[in-house]
Subunit: 373 residues, 2 copies
């Protein structure tokens, strides 16, 4: 990020924002965006106002794709697309495109988003549950020993990080039979650590956690899979067409693509995914160590499946949870309330979340435990 | 728009941007957005970073809906929704939701978007062309005398302004038979003039022309029509569910909704749609009068069907068209190139386009005609 002006707009003190999504955007990216809203590339036309077919947006899109490829080490035989409707739209688009009537897809049932994905898939074909953690309140990722694939799945779907539950796959699921490929909803941990794209057929990720914009969804798909569409699809839902048109079959969410592009540049400036992972590990360690060092809190996730992005925990009572959230909020530690489906607290610390925020939370947790324990 | 700070970010001289979309955003809105990117409502969290379930975004959404209702004089028995995927997604979503196999919908064929809409509808049911201007290169809106509806259309679809062709409906199409309702793609002239919503069943409009954000689409639909969905739809495509969830079935495009909301506020500050129409008429008159006063230019649209938003015209040759576009660009009159499907020039002057830009174009047109005529 070059030539970011200092300006006197940004005088309000920023909170430590633990929101699960939309979440924190890097401050350098916000400052750059403030500039580009007025005039992009010296054009006298702001980033919101450029034609999606003009040379300035050509540059935005080309850079976003190239930067994404470099950051994610994405091979040439994968397409990078920026689609609309969020990850939730991919829940139905994937089976609508790839799962014919009578065919079976295997799904891992590890939380709410996994559950929504497999429910949508049932509209289009058979769904087999390859593994589930429902019985233990989604506190874990299924062990390989407990996974059973169907005989001939078309694809295997998993959610790499379960935002609500605070669990994360720290390995790939075991290899599926036949030529099934992995479909991964990586919305809440995309680009939080290095990723070996070659192990996946289809990756999708809503932007609003690690990539910036709500609404825009990053899709990374292997070329040969685009050939496997089983239905005649409306144009907007046709991945092959969207790939051919470079995500511009219609007017794309130009600002969302711009913002993701800026976030890719920011990730590179941090040293890429290997460095980002170290930074994220350090932040998560500060909070998990605090959780573990005090008898007061109860973490939700099984230790080996703990998410680096979303840390879920409870105090001894609902009343104390409420007090925790309210008092933290007063100290500028905001959005710590857990999802309504599991309650308690959730500290989401995505890529752009500062280390100082993790330290501040740990310190608050210690004080709160001491005063209320 | 209160308390907009002066800042030294915005030093680049702004061009007169004639882009057909994404198009001009009001400068007051850009300045306000620059502030809110850093911190919204004094929260210390920027507009991009707020949870879509938090109280700050609740306020953004509630205000956007209320402001939209006030600006558009939208009755209580209509829902206001902010959906994703642009107007192009509505091309298939409307027939997928409302047109059963065997049923017929009537479409007006007045240009490219109308053509795309009716092509998508053919996937789901029968399409009857109620009127077309294809034979005259889409230079007009069909006269009532040339309109023939089918016996029992489910709905009648028209495109109120044809961005590419520069034609616009200056009246409603004649009344359809039975209980058919009007579906209108109003993407390129929504809120450019007063609108009697009660004459429509379903209105959709991509945001990137008069409302701000590309990707986000405004949908205004009468309550009883939501009951008429004919298919079991994926959740994201289910209008009834989206209405029930106030556009928040999933994480909505929060920034797009924020931006539309700011544009609604700006429209009110201009005096509402009656005033906006006068301002737009005055701008269009400056350019049309210039076109008509010189023998040099050839307007594309039939006079009575001329669009107030998009003015399409040619010089005597392709070579001069190119020269016109290049020389205008040098003078800060940018994005005047016509759509590739009809060539020539197109001057798009949406709500936020300044009157001074219309004057500058007229002046340039006179000079260019003199030098090249």
């Amino acid at each position: 990020m070059t030539s970011v002006a200092t300006n006197d707009l940004n005088t309000v003190k920023r909170a430590f924002n633990f929101s699960a999504g939309p979440g924190v955007v890097p401050e350098e990216v916000i400052r750059r965006t403030q500039e580009d809203l007025w005039s992009l590339f010296g054009s006298g036309v702001g980033v919101l106002e450029h034609s999606h077919r003009g040379k300035e947006f050509d540059r935005v899109l080309e850079e976003a794709i190239a930067d994404c490829r470099r950051v994610g080490n994405i091979p040439d035989n994968y397409q990078v697309m920026f689609l609309q409707g969020g990850a939730t739209s991919q829940c139905y688009q994937v089976p609508m495109a790839f799962l014919a009537e009578g065919e079976t897809a295997d799904y891992f049932h590890t939380g709410k988003w996994a559950s929504d994905s497999l429910a949508e898939a049932k509209r289009f074909g058979h769904v087999h549950i390859a593994g589930s953690s429902e019985e233990t309140s989604f506190d874990r990722i299924p062990d390989d020993a407990d996974v059973t694939y169907s005989a001939n799945p078309k694809y295997v779907h998993f959610t790499s990080n379960n935002t609500i539950m605070g669990t994360e796959w720290h390995r790939m699921p075991k290899s599926p039979p036949g030529d099934a490929w992995f479909v991964c909803d990586a919305s809440s941990d995309i680009f939080s650590r290095p990723i070996d794209v070659t192990k996946y057929g289809f990756i999708y990720a809503g932007g609003q956690k690690n990539l910036g914009p709500a609404g825009t969804v990053l899709v990374i798909v292997r070329d040969d899979i685009l050939e496997k569409q089983v239905r005649d699809l409306p144009w907007m839902l046709d991945y092959q067409l969207q790939a051919k048109k470079q995500s511009r079959y219609n007017t794309p969410p130009t600002f969302g693509i711009y913002l993701m592009g800026q976030v890719f540049k920011w990730i590179e400036e941090q040293g890429g995914l290997a460095e980002i992972e170290k930074i994220n590990q350090a932040k998560a360690k500060v909070v998990y160590d605090t959780l573990d060092s005090l008898d007061f809190y109860k973490p939700h996730a099984r230790e080996i499946d703990r998410s680096m992005m979303n840390i879920t925990f409870n105090t001894p009572s609902d009343e104390l949870n409420k007090k925790f959230i309210a008092e933290a909020d007063e100290q500028g530690l905001v959005n710590l309330k857990g999802h309504r489906s599991i309650g308690g607290m959730r500290a989401s610390m995505y890529n752009a979340f500062p280390h100082a925020g993790a330290e501040a939370l740990a310190s608050f947790m210690k004080d709160f435990a001491q005063q209320n324990g």
